[in-house]
């Protein structure tokens, strides 16, 4: 596992929590043979205890005793068959995550990631690499956290022609806009979001729509088979939304929400006017999406877009899908 922050630790806890389930379903454990945080790693070919790793990280701030510079060198020294890549997102270069994923796929290892940066920048290359090397490459948790949108489109709606996906893909923006619905100014709502831990100290990625744009790119490439990157998204953030705009929308029985829209021809993130009561008018930190397909019509889903256990749940679903696949073949 590359990355041992909130999501990594959450997944370690979920692995411990579902140990018996995995053993019963596959007749063997899912062994965690190496875990890297930003500067150290721990490795054991017989398997590490996930809860001990979490405890160590909490008490010392480090997951292992051995320091490292290059994640690829660490991976070269370990025998593994699947990489869970959960390091911090870098939407400008793809960062260490892109390097680790590329190495794992080149080495014919399966990969699960929730890291939006590499997917938003190099989706086509990574998928081609996975196909070429017959690796499984899954990334459900990268869009909507626990909201199962990618696998829903790929697996449950596999016979449908999906016309469009519109959704709220950033809980921080939704929290801010919901607070503005209740009379707060943008600045007040942002400050509160920061105090609650929903927004970063530098909230640019969220409020300018960059985070949602990454997710729109992932959906465009993975669901619609497009070949687009972050720079192809038309982005408008929410920082220009005024209290007057919110009030005028409310007077017309509407709310303003930051919506990502993806279709075979559209790729956009922008604030939109949503009628009250519409599935995309939800308040708080939830994510929501409406998928429109030819046979099923509109399908609405919502769920927690971020969080320790929530994102780990998406990684677990990808892990089970890969293990099921391996069992079949």
């Amino acid at each position: 596992m590359a990355g041992f922050g909130t999501v990594g630790q959450g997944f370690a806890e979920v692995l411990a929590l579902r140990k018996d389930f995995i053993k019963e379903r596959y007749g063997e454990d899912a062994r965690l043979v190496c875990v890297m945080d930003s500067s150290t790693y721990a490795a054991d070919p017989d398997g590490l205890d996930p809860l001990e790793l979490v405890a160590r990280k909490k008490s010392t701030g480090k997951v292992g005793d051995v320091r490292y510079q290059d994640s690829v060198e660490v991976m070269k020294s370990v025998e593994f068959d699947l990489l869970v890549e959960v390091s911090p997102t870098d939407v400008k270069t793809g960062g260490a995550g892109l390097k680790s994923i590329t190495f794992a796929l080149e080495s014919k290892k399966d990969v699960i990631t929730v890291n939006k940066g590499p997917l938003a920048l190099k989706f086509g290359e990574l998928v081609s690499l996975a196909r070429k090397n017959r690796c499984k490459f899954r990334f459900e948790g990268s869009v909507g956290g626990a909201m199962p949108i990618i696998n829903l489109c790929h697996e449950n709606l596999v016979g449908e022609k999906i016309a469009s996906i519109r959704g709220i893909f950033n809980g921080t923006c939704n929290y801010i806009l919901s607070k503005m619905d209740n009379g707060q100014t943008f600045e007040q709502a942002l400050k509160e979001a920061q105090q609650m831990g929903y927004a970063e100290t530098d909230p640019t990625n969220d409020i300018e729509g960059y985070d949602s744009a990454c997710k729109a790119v992932i959906l465009a490439n993975s669901v619609f088979g497009r070949d687009v990157t972050f720079s192809d998204v038309e982005i408008t953030g929410i920082s220009s939304i005024t209290s007057e705009a919110i009030a005028l929308a409310a007077a017309n029985n509407m709310v303003i929400r930051l919506i990502g829209e993806v279709s075979p021809t559209k790729l956009e993130v922008s604030p939109r006017l949503i009628p009250k009561g519409h599935p995309l008018s939800i308040a708080g930190t939830l994510n929501a999406a409406q998928i429109v397909s030819d046979l099923a019509g509109p399908i609405s889903i919502s769920g927690r877009g971020a969080g320790r256990k929530e994102t780990a749940s998406a990684i677990l679903s990808d892990l089970i899908a890969i293990m099921d696949d391996r069992k079949r073949t």
């Binding site: 005024t242 705009a245 005028l248 604030p271 939109r272 006017l273 995309l280």
Partner: protein, 163 residues
């Protein structure tokens, strides 16, 4: 074809049903009825009905039946579908700017109707306008979207549209 008709029937029990039954007699399908007892002309009450009928032949038969039943047809016309979209503009502009924008928009697409409401702030500071526009086709809606997006970008106005 979808048709809207304004009928006037005598203010007597059973007249409403009598005016609507002929639609079924020509295999028509009623989609909406408004029985407006406030609108009375020559002691007749207004019935506004929207219905689907197969063709003009069916419509002619219906008109003949209504005539035979002493149902007065005040107005009749085809109903066409329209598409409505809301646009919100945030920035420094006046009502005259928005009027001009709508005028330019009507050169791009055929606007069936438009309505504007404003936030209460004056033109010297940031204000907000909400435009509701009605057009005939989804293609016109796309054109209108493109027009507003481009015009607002040029003027430095934040533009938010409906779903």
């Amino acid at each position: 074809m979808l048709v809207n008709a304004e009928l006037y029937v005598k203010d007597l029990p059973g007249q409403l049903v009598d005016s609507l039954t002929p639609i079924s007699m020509v295999d028509g399908n009623i989609t909406a009825v408004v029985h407006d007892r406030e609108q009375i002309v020559n002691q007749r009450i207004c019935v506004n009905v929207t219905f689907e009928v197969a063709d003009n032949k069916g419509l002619d038969r219906l008109k003949a039946i209504w005539k035979s039943k002493d149902v007065m047809i005040a107005r009749m016309g085809s109903v066409y579908e329209t598409h409505t979209m809301e646009y919100m503009l945030i920035g420094k502009f006046s009502a005259a700017n928005v009027e001009k924008l709508l005028e330019e928009a009507s050169n791009v697409v055929s606007l069936e109707s438009s309505d504007v409401s404003y936030s209460s702030k004056n033109a010297t500071s940031t204000r907000t306008a909400m435009i509701t526009a009605e057009v005939l086709t989804p293609e016109d809606l796309e054109k209108l979207d493109r027009f507003f997006r481009s015009a607002c970008r040029e003027s430095g106005i934040v533009y938010i549209r409906g779903l």
